[in-house]
Symmetry: C2
Subunit: 339 residues, 2 copies
């Protein structure tokens, strides 16, 4: 981050017609964006675009969710038809929705709003070896970088992570365990709502994935290939791309969090561009937030994915920057400072 | 609340293309608004208007804040000039700003956006007797009811509480202690940021106010008159007015919280219309939220007032209702339900 812009932003906050510190967490996030942009009064992060990276997962065969695999493709169609929560929230906060097929099992129609970037028809079952090859992981990362670049080239000033992939909380848990060193039991949640027996089984599947592969957290692409999903790899690229372009990226829940661990392992500087949109009720997500020292803006026990939680945080992020840009100073407004 | 609308809203949530419970707290708030409107798919709470009730406080003379009293009027001018945080946030979320002078000490200009409803030039020092007469409290309550009615008549479908009044966390603490029975030390915070010595003194001032007046929580108007502020009384009316019109009212921080206690003491049904916008870092506010069983939508250590925290919650509330209205069902979207 640009130290001069950070210092000037803090100095301006001290002169704004508010008691010191009265905007709490929002003061820090506004200063973060000042440092990212290299301007004491950074641009308001709008317009914003959410990219929903979709993929399927070979580990679905292990019975880690009660949802059939074809729901991934069905939900992609629902996004394109405007019928999902992500569409409702994007409409509310004025964000554009783009769906990116990086690894859906089924063939998908060629329609506006869907970017065909299929690297594979889903991943392999990671309990029997790597979920994908390093080359595939690389292609998916590249796809994510390019989506970030294209959305910024189209004029967006804030990127929002979204995801869809039945069973994708299982590779998320494996990635989080791999990058943070936590036990799978601590980071594996109930996803869309599995029962006790399936939850226990899911933890064992995550353990099996970590045993069946050589896991070296110093090799983030290798970890993604071993136990990740194609949408995790693409989201890793999306975060890298946003950070390289100095555009803030609002992270959604546990899937984006797992990808952020990979991105930060590749380049710790990406965190200067990352804002945690919300805290998911998935336990692994709180582990990510703690590990990356990110403070979420929204904390409402959401666990939907799609980018829904991050979209709700967008007006808060925009408001934080708008306050830094627009609020009058004591001097300019003729307001007396405290004694 | 309308039980049929509540049941139908819950039933629709069960058919929406989301895992059960995946929208967390937002599902409850959407159902609350369904019950309030008497419709399973209630109107999206927009447009919204924030009313900033401004008043001065005789207890300022006791040295409970480092800010001079004239800052109340100066900040009113700042609101009218569009230079305050409440203006920046209102602009971000698309809300209208109205300022209501219910008790500012100074004369204020006659300008658009400022409603002249001055009941008195500030309150009296409540450590020496009642802050105002019952008649004055009644006038301020009526002013608040009328502002609610006028804003709804103008087409607003969501009301947002705002406040301005140097020293007004002190009467808030006294009201909260009076209505909840908590000790003043538990509910008196640092407001705009007083030091340890002034904080101790502020607690003693609150105790003195409760000793100097006859406090009967069963007589809410009497409590408001004894230790409240004119903006607290007006906000009490504003909440009563919104609830009577079945329009949701987003509550800001500790000042609105103190007023909500008074409103709920007058008519517990008002709570069906109340949504807690945020949790202030003032300790008394958490006591209010617990007492009224309200779950705040935003929790970011804000302590500014003006309506700022509630405005940030507006898109979350609107998103919650929009999801209930617009998200496709499994059946309509052709998405397979889980086994």
């Amino acid at each position: 981050p640009n130290a001069r812009a950070v210092a000037e932003a803090r100095e301006r906050q001290g002169r704004m017609t508010t008691p010191p510190g009265a905007l709490g967490v929002l003061e820090d996030v506004a200063v973060q964006l000042a440092g990212l942009a290299g301007e004491a009064q950074p641009p308001i992060p709008e317009p914003a675009a959410v990219a929903i990276f979709a993929g399927d997962h070979g580990v679905h065969a292990q019975g880690v969710t009660a949802w059939p695999q074809e729901v991934t493709a069905q939900m992609v169609r629902n996004f394109l038809d405007g019928g999902a929560v992500v569409n409702a929230f994007a409409g509310q906060v004025g964000a554009e929705v783009t769906v990116v097929d990086v690894g859906v099992l089924a063939d998908l129609p060629t329609v506006p709003g869907l970017l065909p970037r299929k690297v594979a028809r889903g991943t392999a079952d990671f309990t029997r070896g790597p979920a994908m090859s390093r080359v595939q992981a690389g292609y998916a990362i590249e796809a994510g970088i390019e989506v970030a670049r294209d959305l910024v080239a189209a004029g967006n000033r804030c990127l929002v992570t979204g995801d869809m992939g039945i069973a994708n909380t299982t590779p998320s848990a494996a990635l989080i365990a791999a990058f943070t060193g936590r036990d799978p039991a601590e980071v594996t949640g109930r996803g869309t709502g599995v029962d006790d027996a399936m939850h226990e089984h899911k933890i064992e599947v995550v353990r099996a994935g970590l045993r069946a592969n050589r896991i070296d957290p110093a090799d983030p692409v290798g970890v993604l290939a071993a136990v990740g999903g194609l949408e995790h790899a693409a989201l890793t690229g999306f975060i890298l791309g946003a950070a390289a372009l100095r555009v803030p990226v609002l992270l959604d829940g546990v899937i984006a969090g797992a990808a952020a661990l990979a991105a930060a392992a590749l380049s710790p500087d990406v965190l200067h561009a990352c804002v945690a949109g919300h805290r998911s009720s998935e336990p692994g997500h709180s582990v990510v937030l703690e590990h990356l020292r990110l403070r979420p803006l929204v904390d409402l026990e959401l666990r939907l994915g799609e980018g829904s939680g991050a979209l709700l945080a967008l007006p808060l992020l925009q408001g934080a920057v708008r306050a830094l840009r627009e609020v009058a100073t004591f001097d300019s407004a003729g307001v007396t400072e405290r004694s």
